[in-house]
């Protein structure tokens, strides 16, 4: 099996277990993003793949070789660190060519590869500058350049965009996606920003407390989150969770709670009927609210709007539904005045149901 494979990998620091047991196989050429809240073990996992951290148990394969105990240089990996970790005493060109020089690559080959990478990252004018004379975004690109000149089997990224401003971050996201297409290498990317995960990943790995919650394409984790944690973590603004009951009204199952009584979509009806419990949690994504009923699936809900935020063609509402706080993102066009209390509509074909006790999706 090629790619990167983690088998029952665990990691403890003394008595503290950070990763209890983690198994995952990443296929060759895939762009996998680890996402999760701070301290959930993303960096630890990445560093174990890199060989910077010893595993406490299990094994790791890269490109079909067991590298569990191999040193980093034997793993054919390149890594971009959160702090960039550039060599401050070397200029940009020397930073990028360091690995190649150590490997004894011929001089003209080094020059060629550095030039290609510098062109791609628009760093050519800065090749003779020291890192301290660069902006954060430029340093970030140097760190990226240092890894791509390597042409490694697998690229590891630990929150490489976290120090950038919003605009640069989004352009670097595109840049990275293009880079992945061009290089066609296995890439493992760590972030706690779910938008980065959604936009770049072939597959997303969502972690919490060292445990994988769900692995799937962005579409899968958005549309069919396995539990409330994934449901609220992925998507922005976050999904609202409300307690509710499954009720049977003349043969049709509905979900009822304070301020709502909604019909279920086809995909959930059978599962709701089979549910061992009536006590459920209803999940409503903000973007599935609207100012008018667009399809027969839209059901009316009365919202008391506490704050409306203008974000261009949508408005984010912090509102009350039957006395409980919810978030709605209503598309009303950029000319609309700030929205107020009133009747809004929710797309019931998009609602989510979770077992209230186990928090698992129905």
């Amino acid at each position: 099996m090629t790619g990167v494979v983690l088998r029952n990998v665990s990691k403890s620091y003394g008595a503290a277990t950070v990763i209890p047991n983690l198994s995952l196989s990443i296929t060759e050429g895939e762009f996998v993003v680890f996402v999760g809240p701070s301290g959930c073990g993303k960096s630890t996992t990445l560093r174990m793949i890199a060989g910077l951290e010893k595993v406490s148990g299990g094994n790791i394969e890269i490109a079909g070789k067991d590298v569990t105990w191999a040193r980093p240089k034997e793993r054919d990996i390149a890594m971009v660190f959160q702090s960039y970790a550039l060599y401050p005493h070397m200029n940009v060109g020397d930073n990028m060519s360091f690995a190649l020089r150590l490997a004894g690559t011929p001089k003209d080959e080094i020059a060629r590869r550095v030039q290609v990478a510098a062109d791609m990252l628009e760093l050519t004018p800065y090749l003779t500058r020291k890192p301290r004379d660069l902006s954060g975004g430029q340093r970030q690109r140097v760190a990226m350049g240092r890894s791509i000149v390597r042409d490694a089997y697998c690229f590891l990224f630990d929150e490489p965009l976290s120090n950038l401003d919003a605009k640069l971050r989004s352009s670097m996201r595109t840049e990275l996606a293009l880079l992945h297409k061009k290089l066609d290498r296995t890439m493992v990317y760590v972030t706690h920003d779910q938008i980065e995960a959604m936009t770049m990943a072939d597959r997303i790995v969502i972690m919490k407390d060292g445990l994988i919650q769900q692995v799937g394409s962005p579409k899968q984790v958005y549309n069919t989150p396995v539990n409330t944690f994934v449901a609220t973590f992925m998507g922005s603004p976050s999904m609202t969770l409300l307690p509710g009951e499954l009720t049977d009204e003349g043969g049709t199952i509905k979900v009822r709670g304070a301020g709502f009584n909604l019909p279920l979509p086809d995909r959930l009806r059978a599962r709701a009927a089979a549910s061992p419990t009536r006590a459920i949690t209803l999940g409503m994504r903000p973007e599935h609210f609207a100012a008018e009923a667009r399809t027969p699936d839209f059901a009316a809900v009365d919202l008391t709007v506490r704050v409306a935020e203008y974000v261009g063609s949508s408005q984010y509402l912090a509102a009350d539904l039957g006395g409980q706080a919810i978030t709605a993102a209503v598309e009303v066009g950029p000319e609309s005045d700030l929205l107020g209390d009133g009747r809004y509509y929710f797309d019931t074909s998009r609602l989510y149901l979770f077992d209230r006790k186990t928090e698992l999706a129905l």
């Binding site: 970790a85 060599y87 360091f98 890192p131």
Partner: protein, 315 residues
């Protein structure tokens, strides 16, 4: 790695010509600097100027200063043709070369070895810096007795373990020189060690890890990443040791008194002997002016070449 030689003054002071020269409140920063400046002037510059002043006089200790004769450049003229001055200068340079080379190498090597959190490293670190806490006078006494020809441990153990005949360590020109070099290494290697290890431990770990990933082996990591990154610390350590070589004299004063002959008489000890043994204060002052010039020249040369202030390791 190598910086283009740059004038430290112009490099440090980009002149903002376009700005108005005197903005309101421009005096405020000076108000804060002046007290420190006064202390520095009093404590630092006064003795220097006094030395300069006295170097133009013939003055014996005990006589009132008014009775000193102004003799112009005579002291300086005498100094440049004085074989004793050249001899002690040569001793000082040899002493500086051997002690600093060995101390830097040993101190850096030990710091690199004990940098990792291996078991016992911290205990060893603490033991190792003890010599730094011993006053130079005491160091001189300790080693004088260790090297003592009759009752010294060194002769005893050389005999007991290796069957080597007792040596008159401090009575032989070459052996005495060796003894003071060894003593200096014993006392000052910990100084290099302690500031280099502090520098190493302050290195951002991700940069070092990045070099591991880039494929650097242990040696390459040391010589291509770690040492270049603490270059400014190494330069400052070197500078402080160099200045100390021209300054320190207590150990030789106690161990050998500069002898036998002048084989262990460093420049500063020579100045002391001139001033207080032969009572030629004016002449001693002239030699100390030479010392100041030498130290100043060396410091400026090193700072210009390495410019440690500019080379702060950010990123």
């Amino acid at each position: 790695m190598a910086h283009a030689p740059q004038d430290p003054l112009t490099a440090a002071l980009p002149m903002p010509m376009a700005k108005p020269r005197f903005e309101p409140g421009f005096l405020t920063p000076y108000a804060f600097i002046i007290p420190a400046l006064l202390v520095m002037l009093g404590g630092l510059l006064y003795p220097v100027f006094m030395a300069l002043y006295l170097s133009f006089y013939d003055w014996q200790i005990g006589l009132p200063l008014e009775d000193a004769d102004f003799i112009g450049m005579t002291n300086f003229a005498r100094m440049f043709t004085d074989p004793q001055v050249w001899e002690v200068l040569w001793v000082t340079l040899r002493f500086g070369f051997w002690t600093i080379t060995i101390e830097m190498t040993l101190g850096v090597a030990l710091a690199l070895l004990l940098e990792k959190p291996i078991r016992g490293a911290s205990v060893f670190r603490t033991i190792f810096i003890l010599p730094l806490m011993v006053s130079p006078v005491v160091v001189g006494l300790i080693w004088r007795y260790l090297f003592d020809a009759r009752i010294g441990w060194i002769n005893y153990y050389l005999g007991a373990w290796f069957g080597i005949d007792p040596q008159v360590w401090l009575g032989d020109a070459q052996l005495a020189f060796f003894a003071i070099v060894l003593t200096d290494i014993w006392q000052w290697t910990p100084f290099i060690f302690i500031i280099v290890i502090a520098g190493l431990q302050a290195l951002p770990s991700e940069v070092v890890e990045a070099s591991t990933i880039d494929g650097a082996n242990w040696w390459q990591q040391i010589f291509l990443v770690k040492l270049p990154m603490i270059k400014s610390i190494l330069v400052i350590a070197l500078l402080m040791r160099l200045i100390d070589v021209f300054r320190g004299m207590e150990v030789m004063l106690i161990m050998t008194g500069g002898g036998p002959g002048r084989s262990t008489e460093l420049l500063s000890l020579h100045i002391y002997n001139r001033a207080f043994n032969t009572q030629q204060l004016g002449y001693a002052s002239a030699i100390s002016v030479l010392l100041i010039v030498i130290v100043f020249a060396i410091s400026t040369a090193i700072l210009t070449m390495a410019n440690p202030m500019k080379n702060k390791s950010d990123v």
